[in-house]
Amino acid sequence: MNKDAQMRATINQKLIETGERERLKELLRAKLIECGWKDQLKAHCKDVIKEKGLEHVTVDDLVAEITPKGRALVPDSVKKELLQRIRTFLAQHASL
């Protein structure tokens, strides 16, 4: 267990150090805007905010409402592409 956690930490550090994590984030954001994910979620946000009232909305509320929906709405193609890139990264650094 200890070894597993240590390994994850190492991988995360590698992701950040190489800048791959930023690149992946940028890619994901662009893809999500492109496919309309962002607009869908914004529309959902509007519903949530109207329901709760403009003054009473907190970030936590939004995160709680939005994150599950956001995860579900990511198109398969985007998900596949992202996973592929992560795997490539891992393979490169596993073979070192």
Binding site: K46, I49, V63, L90, A94
Partner: protein
């Protein structure tokens, strides 16, 4: 380093896959969180709902998609009169006539002022010497001949025919006109210097456009044959002068009456003209009779010096001075204080009698 290598290489495929998914989830949640922050900030700053409108107004501005109407639901009127303002001469022209106008105005055709101007700039023409010769011939001629009137325009400073009688008539005229300080300015750019053109060019030019030579700019009027600024008599005289006595007005001009100008221009002209109702002589009558005298033999030499009363009457026939805008040098002179204008005018006109002749022609 060694530790990492060992740990990574020790992973099996399923574990690697799990880690990949984990990273992916993290990334997606990052994106969600970013969006949440963004939305929250927009809500708190009050601009989140800015692009929303109520359904009523949405209905008002709905895009109409029906045959026969445009997207605003208005009936498209094909024949609606659209006017364009020419960027060059800033006249407003009907949209359907705009392209032909622009062609002339900006210089696509051979008769355009721009091309003509360039031609003038580039060449010192042979015709120049010819006309100079004529000048010399005419220098001792009678002041009243039409030809010498033309010369007078060219050599403004050469002449000093000044008699008290002429001054008197001019004074009257000047007093009358001085009250109206809004002259119709004749544009310098709209003209062709006829001296630089060859005979064939002149001929074709004169069959397509007015061609009356402005006293002020000494250039030809480039408007149509029915140009309201100049009269048929002026046009005829110019043709006789430039092409010889055999030349006549082109066919299109023969039937022109005073009220058959282009509609827009004639309206403008008519509004400027104020006919003297009490006068027993119609302007066209007197103008044509006088002009025929003038142009018949390339300038007459008789003592048909119009009396002062005649001039005044014709002045009234001419209406406001904007009615004879072709003679801009006259107007320019007339707009000065009359003492100056006497000196100014007389060289221009070759005497007050010319002035009368001019106004008759107008």
């Amino acid at each position: 380093m060694k530790m990492e290598d060992m740990s990574l290489s020790g992973l099996d495929n399923s574990k690697l896959e799990a880690i990949a998914h984990e990273i992916y989830t993290e990334l997606v949640e990052d994106a969600c969180l970013g969006l949440c922050f963004e939305v929250h900030r927009a809500v708190k700053c009050g601009y989140f709902f800015l692009d929303d409108t109520d359904p009523d107004s949405m209905k008002d501005f709905e895009i109409v998609d029906q045959p026969g109407v445009d997207i605003f639901g208005q009936v498209y009127n094909q024949w609606k009169n659209k006017e364009c303002v020419c960027p060059n001469c800033s006249r407003s022209i009907a949209a359907s006539r705009f392209a032909p106008h622009l062609e002339k105005c900006l210089g696509m055709g051979r008769n355009s002022s721009r091309i003509a101007n360039r031609r003038i700039a580039s060449s010192n023409n042979l015709n120049k010497s010819e006309s100079d010769q004529e000048d010399n011939d005419d220098i001792n001629d009678n002041d009243w001949s039409y030809g010498s009137e033309k010369k007078a325009k060219k050599r403004k400073s050469d002449k000093n025919p000044n008699s008290p009688r002429r001054s008197k008539s001019l004074k009257h005229k000047n007093g009358e006109i001085g009250g109206n300080p809004d002259p119709f300015k004749y544009s310098n750019s709209a003209g062709i210097n006829y001296e630089t053109l060859g005979p064939e060019e002149l001929r074709t030019l004169l069959t397509t456009q007015c061609g009356v030579i402005s006293e002020h700019t000494k250039k030809m009027c480039t408007r149509s044959l029915r140009c309201p600024q100049h009269t048929d008599e002026q046009r005829r005289a110019v043709r006789v002068y430039l092409l010889g006595p055999s030349a006549s007005l082109p066919e299109a001009e023969a039937g022109v009456e005073n009220d058959s100008f282009e509609v827009a221009e004639s309206q403008a002209l008519m509004s400027r003209l104020q006919w003297d109702g009490s006068s027993d002589i119609s302007p066209s009558d007197s103008a044509s009779s006088k002009a025929s005298e003038c142009s018949g033999a390339g300038g007459h030499t008789g003592g048909t010096d119009p009396s002062e009363g005649q001039i005044l009457r014709h002045r009234s026939l001419c209406g406001s001075k904007t009615g004879c805008s072709g003679m801009s040098s006259v107007q320019e002179g007339l707009n000065r204080p009359w003492l100056q204008s006497l000196e100014h005018l007389v060289p221009h006109l070759g005497g007050a009698g010319k002035f009368g002749v001019h106004f008759l022609g107008c």
